[in-house]
Symmetry: C2
Subunit: 349 residues, 2 copies
Amino acid sequence: MTTPSAKALVPFVSVDNMMRLIHHIGIQDMLRDLASYIEADFKRWELFDKTPRVASHSDVGVIELMPTSDGEAYGFKYVNGHPKNTSEGLQTVTAFGLLADVYTGYPVLLTEMTILTALRTAATSAMAAKYLAPKGSSTMAMIGNGAQSEFQSLAMQAICGIDTIRLYDKDPAATDKCAANLAHTGLTVVKCATPEEAIEGAHILTTCTADKQNATILTDNMVGAGVHINAIGGDCPGKTELASGILTRSDIFVEYPPQTRVEGEIQQMSPDHPVTELWEVITGAAQGRSGSRQITLFDSVGFAIEDFSALRYVRDKIKDTPFHYDLDLLADPDDPRDVFGMLMRADQS
Amino acid sequence: MTTPSAKALVPFVSVDNMMRLIHHIGIQDMLRDLASYIEADFKRWELFDKTPRVASHSDVGVIELMPTSDGEAYGFKYVNGHPKNTSEGLQTVTAFGLLADVYTGYPVLLTEMTILTALRTAATSAMAAKYLAPKGSSTMAMIGNGAQSEFQSLAMQAICGIDTIRLYDKDPAATDKCAANLAHTGLTVVKCATPEEAIEGAHILTTCTADKQNATILTDNMVGAGVHINAIGGDCPGKTELASGILTRSDIFVEYPPQTRVEGEIQQMSPDHPVTELWEVITGAAQGRSGSRQITLFDSVGFAIEDFSALRYVRDKIKDTPFHYDLDLLADPDDPRDVFGMLMRADQS
């Protein structure tokens, strides 16, 4: 019938093609690459158009849009969060994203982001740990062994040199799943029966549980001096994982304070509780880890710029690969003022 | 390789399939149907989650996200506005949209919306005119003969009984294009050399020009008693089409005041200039046209609920048609916690 021009076509990366792309690059290389892209964008943090995510809440979950722009490219992610979905055989979180050209407003990439978000979240955690975790860290406790746990473990291995993962989940089946998935990765994996056992000897404590209510995955007395806490499970109002006493004793690093104060662990604290923005650590404007007994806490909720970095990366990497195909998403009449004529001619051809 | 489950697949309507769908239904029937869906949603206006569009501005244009929800479905539209695009052979406006299930957060429809927006904008204008234009209106002046002009003309014909269109554009080629496109529609089309000539005897004055700066397409002395003005070209800060004197003499109807006060014709007026919300006219809570000498003005900027109605309509209409295909957009592992395992298994199959 009609043959759309190249301008009207948007490259699309399906779930299947995203998996192929990851295997083509190698998951550890891809985690390292993503961390580099994210780090590069954190270094130019100030030039981004930033806004807290635009959320639509219901009784059972939330649907969010996360837009940002660096002035040349514009990206956004659609993401839902429905903790009850798992019990119905569905994903708690699904996502897709789009990158567009600011100069024309035309989209240039549409991609699945359920898997890509798992990778960018892990890459962000490891990138932060590179600046904040104790020097020579080799052991991570992984509390919560759901969909994010393997990605966290591999990113900490690839980027921070972690060689041992101590797993704990209140559901032993989740721990078994995670341990089996990490079996041939070169990591030493230890299954633990309690959170206390999991954190024994760990330099990095990663919490990533899906509890919706304010929970206390880590109590104050569990956290000793000198560790780095990577708290990624608290990501919406009413959802936290750490005892407030831990927050009081920690130096807290965040992505974007207006969003973190609503969604992160620090929603438990006063609105002016001191935090350091991670991008300032990366540019050198603020100090990261300052001593061996300091407790550092990355209160991560996920920010649009990390998705933007991941979209940039996918756009760059799919070039000259077969891992995408074109969608006829944009109308492109020969005469831009003649949308109607294009429509009428389509009926005759 | 992997075969995604039905839950992971999202029906997609391409530009080509949208054009087929329109011809399958018939453009006039589709405009009438869309007006009905929009009217139904305006009747239940209060239950929608409403927010002004989320805009990212640059020197040359704007990219916007327009989300809304009725509690059962969630919809958003991506749309750009780049007036300079036309001179580069590109569309000023391109758009696509998504509908999702609020209960699961899973997308259920992805569709082109460049053409669909043209239809919903025209259907909204005609739906408003049904309530606001003088009884027995038969003639419309169409000032600005760009991409929206034919859709406006056909919607006013289908929904309000307009039989004569008087065209004016500062570029005669645009008028020629519009007149040629309307040649076999049953409308009497009159090409006019000046705006003054175009409005002679017209009951409805539609302005839809693409000028970026504050322009005066209609001056105060051009607008006599008893007409309905359908002002759709003013849709961003700094872009207006009407002399402020016209606004002073008109009863002004708007979609969503927080957005219209920034983007519409009333950005020229004080922030508390009286306006009536269109949905209140439709429910009967407020009066529409009250007399034969009244000037009514629909200061339309386009609102997310209109796109939501259009998305609902497309979702309903593509069922049992071939005008869509499935996109592998959502990861759907057998075990929702095992995204990593799905990824690893994809490499072996």
